[in-house]
């Protein structure tokens, strides 16, 4: 099967002043095309750093990164990246923000409006098209960022704790929507989360990372059909397995 993402002994060091911080050490994994992978790991272990490396924002200090068989380059590939922090343009409305990616990807200008509105509807923000970011809630901002990323029809979706600010209901709604988009449009998704239940609900495979310097501690295949029932015994047993691995890492912090 074709690999969407391939990491081979990737390491990342940051130089801060005279000292150096090793964030990722000898990390190796791959993600298949059309696969949904969740990454869980303790805070500060380097999940966001990993995402920046995969999206081509930063080179690794050593090792090899391939996305669809080439080094990642957002100028030649279509990535839908959803950042952990707020990344909306404050001077553009919701509609203008969702159009942003389309403009950069060279879509025809006549199409921007229609595509943008489709995705605004998908994330349930119809009626808010003309609101500015400071006029909507944190969760709504996240949904705008998701609409903006999906609108360009990306080959690879990279999400950094996208649902962390959402209330339980919206979160579960967005989780189902994401699964919908994923199964309908055949996307590869790399999804970072702190929330183990979320990982079991969404992913085909869950990668548990160790604490810093991080590598893959465990890979767990979730062999459950979608949609998954959160209260079913196998769901809970997967959750417990991952939680155990996760907590072993938290102890040492």
């Amino acid at each position: 099967m074709k690999k969407a993402i391939l990491l081979e002994s990737v390491s990342k060091k940051y130089e801060v002043g005279s000292s150096s911080l090793e964030v990722i050490k000898d990390l190796t994994f791959d993600v298949n095309e059309n696969e949904f992978v969740c990454i869980v790991g303790p805070s500060g272990c380097g999940k966001t750093t990993l995402l920046r490396i995969v999206s081509g924002l930063e080179p690794p200090s050593s090792g090899r990164v391939l996305v669809f068989d080439t080094p990642p380059d957002p100028r030649r590939q279509k990535f839908g990246v959803i950042f952990q922090e707020d990344s909306l343009l404050p001077w553009r409305t919701v509609l203008g923000n969702v159009k942003f990616g389309l403009e950069l990807q060279g879509y025809k200008e006549t199409e921007h409006e229609k595509i943008a509105r489709t995705y605004i509807e998908l994330v349930g923000l119809q009626g808010f098209e003309n609101y500015y970011p400071h006029q909507i809630s944190g969760g709504m901002k996240k949904r705008v960022a998701i609409a903006r990323a999906l609108a360009i029809n990306p080959d690879l979706i990279l999400m950094d704790e996208p649902f962390a600010d959402l209330d339980a209901q919206t979160r579960s709604l967005m989780q189902r929507e994401l699964l919908n988009v994923w199964s309908k449009l055949n996307k590869t998704v790399l999804f970072i989360t702190h929330n183990v239940e979320e990982a079991v609900f969404l992913a085909q495979r869950v990668f548990v990372l160790t604490k810093r310097p991080s590598k893959v501690k465990q890979i767990i295949n979730i062999d459950l059909p979608y949609p998954r029932a959160r209260l079913s015994p196998p769901f809970i047993s997967y959750r417990e397995r991952i939680l155990t691995a996760f907590h072993e890492e938290l102890e040492g912090i």
């Binding site: 920046r52 999206s55 081509g56 924002l57 957002p74 100028r75 030649r76 279509k78 990535f79 990246v81 950042f83 922090e85 707020d86 990344s87 343009l89 404050p90 001077w91 553009r92 409305t93 942003f100 990616g101 403009e103 950069l104 990807q105 500015y132 970011p133 400071h134 360009i152």
Partner: protein, 251 residues
């Protein structure tokens, strides 16, 4: 409103008192300034130029200098904001230059330039630095997350400048334009100290200062003050329209 009105009235009372008890015979009271104002506005000055004409000519000079100051300050500011090494290289030149007042440039401008260019140059001195510094400050404040976000959508450097850095610095740039226009307008007297032309508000003030007719001098001063106020207000209005996306701060 009421407070504002009373402070204006108190100001005029003080002025009247000072004029009344001042030993100097040249200090006019508000009433003679008003009379001078009407005369210059309707009849004109000793050379026959009306106050409106003086103001229009001065405004034209300042707006030209302002246009050149904007056209240089914004691009150079963007460049220096984006390239810190370049900024480091030119800082030892720019920093001392910006403390030299326009008046000090007059002799050099006479040596180097002719006609309208002298005015433009002297006003430009006042406009350029506020625009430059605010543009640099705006560029520096651009969010790194927004730049990275644009990169993940495949933006090249040019797109990042036009779609992220410039719009995000625009509030600071507009602030620089407002301050720059104010300073440029304040340079008008210095700019009009030279040259043979008898028109311009600065010229009017100098002409009547030489004649020791201080009432007309004050008319010129007040006109400069009021036009400056109006220019400032116009840009504030423009800013309000442009930046509706900003969080409104209510006092």
């Amino acid at each position: 409103m009421l407070y504002a009105l009373s402070s204006v009235i108190i100001f005029f009372i003080f002025w009247e008192l000072i004029a009344l008890y001042s030993p100097s015979p040249y200090l006019p009271d508000p009433y003679s300034v008003l009379r001078a104002f009407i005369t210059i506005l309707t009849v004109g000055d000793v050379d026959g130029y009306t106050l409106t004409w003086h103001a229009v000519v001065s405004l034209e000079r300042v707006l030209l200098g302002f246009a050149v100051g904007t056209a240089t300050g914004i691009p150079i500011g963007m460049l220096l904001g984006i390239k810190p090494t370049l900024k480091g290289a030119v800082t030892p030149i720019i920093e001392p230059l910006r403390f030299i007042p326009p008046i000090a440039w007059i002799p050099l401008s006479i040596v180097l330039l002719i006609g309208l260019w002298r005015y433009i140059f002297l006003i430009w001195i006042g406009v350029f630095f506020p625009v430059l510094l605010d543009t640099i400050a705006g560029v520096k404040r651009t969010s790194i997350t927004l730049i990275q976000m644009a990169r993940t959508f495949g933006a090249d450097n040019k797109k990042i400048i036009t779609k992220i850095v410039f719009p995000s610095s625009l509030p600071e740039i507009m602030n620089g334009l407002r301050v720059g226009l104010g300073v440029g307008w304040m340079c008008i007297v210095a700019a009009e100290m030279i040259g043979g032309e008898p028109v311009g508000l600065g010229r009017l003030i100098l002409k009547y200062a030489n004649l020791l007719q201080i009432d007309v001098v004050i008319v010129g001063m007040i006109t400069i003050g009021l036009i400056g106020l109006a220019l400032n207000y116009l840009i504030l209005l423009l800013e309000k329209r442009m930046f509706r996306w900003r969080v409104e701060i209510r006092a």
